[in-house]
Amino acid sequence: MDQVPGDHGRGGEEVAVSSVPPRTKAGRASPGGRAPYPFAAIVAQEEMLRALLIAAVDGSVGGVLVLGDRGTGKSTAVRALAALLPPMKAVAGCRFGCDPADAAALCADCRARGRLKAIEAPVPVVDLPLGATEDRVAGALDIERALADGVKAFEPGLLARAHRGFLYIDEVNLLEDHLVDLLLDVAASGENLVEREGISIRHPARFVLVGSGNPEEGELRPQLLDRFGLCVEVRTPMDVPTRIEVIRRRDAYERDHAAFCAAWEKEQAKLRRRILAARAHIGQVAVPDAALERAATLCLALGTDGLRGELTLIRAARALAALEGRTSVGDAELRAVASPALRHRLRRNPLDETSSGARVERAVAELFGP
């Protein structure tokens, strides 16, 4: 059993580390063996899929918030992401899945480890279910070890598990306030600080926050809204052929998960290669001054607060260019990501009935031409 000196442990108390689950793959497959619906098989909803792919290419874009109608496959898409993501390199035996290549972001264990052995690990896509308690989200005293051996051990929570991956909250607008506070803090600092039951520990927790919800059931706190880089709105498709295709594929999947997933594996692999290529390529995507100027003008015209809007807009456009194999950011990319990057950053104008998405589109049309 390895010992973790809490980064700022009290009075030299030893905090043991529970040897138990090495990062389970909760988001991946459930015990029932239900493989998630393949990402590549999702019909329509281009804006949502694009936003998720952008986040998969460049995590620094910030999280993705998916708002919209019921039964449009919001959570299906997010859960499908887990099976799509290419694996990552992680330190063998690390509970947080530290990146061996990033010395600055190592957890305390890994820093003490000396030579780091790298293994391939799946990118975590962790579900934060409603009704989760704070101790499981942040991590807490390992009650099992405490009861059995009288040892104070830290058991990492969902935030630790989501490190370097995705943290998904379905019905994010219904999340309890004290959990929202916790998330806001961790999402901002990239670090989880646990001070409970005499445990004092700090570990890296950098993740892409993905939320989904239906705005009819109550709105999101502005602070939380701000944490999401992209905000997409999904609507039920209203044309018959699309609807039929959705029903048909869903039915095929429900009848035989394995066969359906196998049939789509080729497409999945293609998408996976595209993500990898985009990640390799994104460093070389040029952002010409003209694009920067366009972004700045658009944000000014819309009156978005602060610089985060512009930054997200540029980053998302760059990731999109990389995904599409282009070498520089142009108007097409800016147009495609303008709504998701900006619609939740507009100042609320209660007198204006038009949706903020429409306002962004109007401004884009004025600026870029029809």
Binding site: T24, P31, S75, A140, L147, D149, G157, D177, E197, P222
Partner: protein, 587 residues
């Protein structure tokens, strides 16, 4: 081959009988595929009809099927599960307790008074239904527990009160149980078991999928879950009848049971509306040549099946609504509806403290605090209890005081108000709405004009809905001020019953000219308004009257005094002052 299979809904049957037969069929189909169909919403109060339907369903299920009932307010520890303390302490290692959702695995779960289930609870159940397992992340436990069940939501709602949309959308059947047809023999359990075995092999012809999808759109059903559930229902019906392929009859039954109750509009009979092209024109090209002749009639037949039960369903619903409304109007109609939530206010973590009366012990947290010291403490004394808890281990639950305010906006939309400044009043309300949103209050909207008042929006936390219903508020007509105040009083009482603190913001130009009995005349209307205002003062409701007339009115001022409200003339009210006034009123 089975009773439900061949006894269904012949065109010759009388309407009431065919409804009863369909409902009986729903009970059989749900028994065949509870997980795939999600379950059913049973609308209506408790009574022999509901019991009979539930008994039918239960008779259809295999003998050992779990059948759990749960109330609408369950703490998460019972709903999802958590740490089983007794077992944990006995075993000396954490033992998980399964919640109701996991206990219902493989069976049926009954949600009593489902209309009272809070959105958060509905969302939890919905998430478990989607994943078919409980993702337990509680009390230091991380578990995945299988939870494949069908949900029967017992909806006793009156008027607008109904089961959360998140659940309705996932439950295939929406039924108002009627008189059961008791002369038919029940579907045998063997038939159900055989149908379950056949389920996976049933094929759905492409044109059936298209017909169901087309019918759903023609009936104005946006959610995609509806046609999916209809297809599952059709498959179950085919399996029950021993067919390998879904027939038009199966699809028609599914349309009646799943699509018709969700309809938001009545499609025109013949021909189908131009803007909703029926599926055949857009159907897959490879199917088109051979299926083209049969497709059009099929799609029509499916739609006809749904349409046939529409008026009945709609009328029955309306009738029930009116009856319920009448009952609701009687003073003691719903006295028993007040229901204690297990937790008051928002939980805000735990703290160390002394256990005095009134404090709520956080048992798990306390044990957690005590746990690390057990070995040490045991070495200091021999014998005694298994777990040694000391005073410093005690942890108490903290709750944020219940400060949930509901701001009730009562907006004068009469002609006189519209002429001056309905738009400005709307603007003011929207500013206030934004303000309420920041303070996380709920808002409700009552409009009055013409002959009476109308609740435009029951209390909601959704700014989107509030904005929408405000925008849709038309102007014009007389000023039935008394009716507006009466409606406000009704809502104040409802809010208090629900444990919230009401606050009234009345926007009017004070030109009352319609009395309570609907007759015109300024004097009578003003007298009635004053009379309607007094109970509000007696009820000590914090209130604010915003005078929207161009010039401050003496009567409006008097009215404010009568209802114990602060008075604020709009000419002086800019956004900041309005917002401040509301805040001060609420405080």
């Amino acid at each position: 081959m089975t009773a439900a299979g061949d006894g269904r809904a012949g065109p010759r049957a009388a309407p009431e009988d065919s409804v009863a037969l369909d409902q009986r069929a729903a009970a059989a189909l749900l028994a065949v595929d509870p997980v795939g169909l999600g379950g059913a919403v049973l609308r209506g109060g408790p009574g022999p009809e509901r019991d009979a339907w539930l008994a039918q369903l239960r008779r259809n299920l295999p003998a050992a099927t779990p059948w759990r009932r749960m109330p609408a307010a369950v703490p998460d520890s019972r709903l999802l599960g958590g740490l089983d303390l007794t077992a944990t302490l006995a075993a000396g290692r954490p033992v998980a307790e399964r919640g109701l959702l996991a206990e219902a695995d493989g069976g049926l779960l009954l949600l009593a008074m489902a209309e009272r289930a809070a959105p958060g609870m509905a969302a939890r159940i919905a998430a478990v239904m989607d994943a078919q397992e409980v993702a337990l992340e509680r009390d230091g436990l991380a578990r995945r527990l299988p939870a494949r069940f069908g949900l029967v939501a017992l909806d006793e709602g009156v008027e607008e009160e109904r089961v959360a949309e998140a659940l309705r959308d996932r439950l295939a059947f929406h039924i108002s149980p009627g008189r059961p047809g008791d002369d038919d023999p029940p579907t045998s359990r063997d038939a159900i078991a055989a149908a379950r075995a056949r389920l996976a092999a049933v094929r759905v012809p492409a044109e059936m999928t298209e017909a169901l999808a087309g019918a759903a759109l023609a009936l104005g059903i946006a959610s995609l879950r509806a046609p999916m559930l209809a297809q599952r229902a059709a498959i179950a019906a085919a399996a029950l009848s021993g067919r390998r392929e879904v027939s038009a009859e199966d699809a028609a039954l599914a349309a009646r049971l799943v699509l018709a109750p969700r309809a938001t509009r009545v499609p025109e009979a013949e021909p189908p509306p131009a803007e909703e092209p029926p599926p055949p024109e857009q159907g897959e090209t490879q199917d088109a040549p051979k299926g083209a002749e049969e497709q059009a009639p099929l799609a029509d037949r499916i739609l006809d099946a749904a349409r046939a039960v529409l008026p009945e369903g709609l009328l029955a619903g309306l009738g029930a609504g009116l009856r319920e409304a009448a009952r609701h109007a009687s003073p003691d109609g719903r006295a028993g509806a007040r229901h204690a939530t297990p937790l008051r206010g928002r939980p805000a973590g735990v703290r160390q403290g002394e256990l005095r009366s009134g404090a709520r012990l956080a048992l798990v947290e306390t044990l957690r605090a005590a746990a690390p010291w057990q070995k040490l403490r045991r070495t200091q004394r021999t014998g005694g209890p298994r777990v040694l808890v000391k005073r410093e281990d005690i942890r108490l639950r903290r709750f944020e005081a219940p400060q949930e305010t509901t701001a009730i906006f009562v907006v004068d939309a009469s002609g006189s108000a519209a002429m001056h400044r309905l738009a400005e009043a709307k603007g003011a309300v929207e500013l206030l709405l934004a303000d309420c949103y920041v303070r996380r209050d709920k808002v409700a909207l009552i409009g009055f004009r013409g002959a009476g008042a109308e609740v435009l929006l029951p209390p909601t936390a959704s700014l989107v809905r509030a904005k929408r219903s405000l925008a849709g508020l038309p102007g014009g007509g007389g000023t039935p001020l008394a009716a507006g105040l009466d409606a406000a009083r009704g809502m104040v009482e409802a809010c208090r019953r629900a444990g919230r603190t009401p606050l009234i913001v009345l926007l009017t130009d004070g030109r009352a000219n319609v009395a309570r009995d609907g007759t015109g005349g300024r004097a009578g209307a003003e007298a009635d308004a004053l009379e309607a205002a007094r109970p509000l003062r007696l009820a000590a409701v914090p209130a604010l009257l915003v005078d929207t007339a161009p010039r401050p009115q003496a009567f409006a001022k008097g009215l404010a005094a009568a209802m114990g409200a602060r008075y604020l003339p709009l000419p002086a009210a800019d956004a900041a002052r309005l917002s401040q006034a509301v805040r001060e009123t609420a405080a």
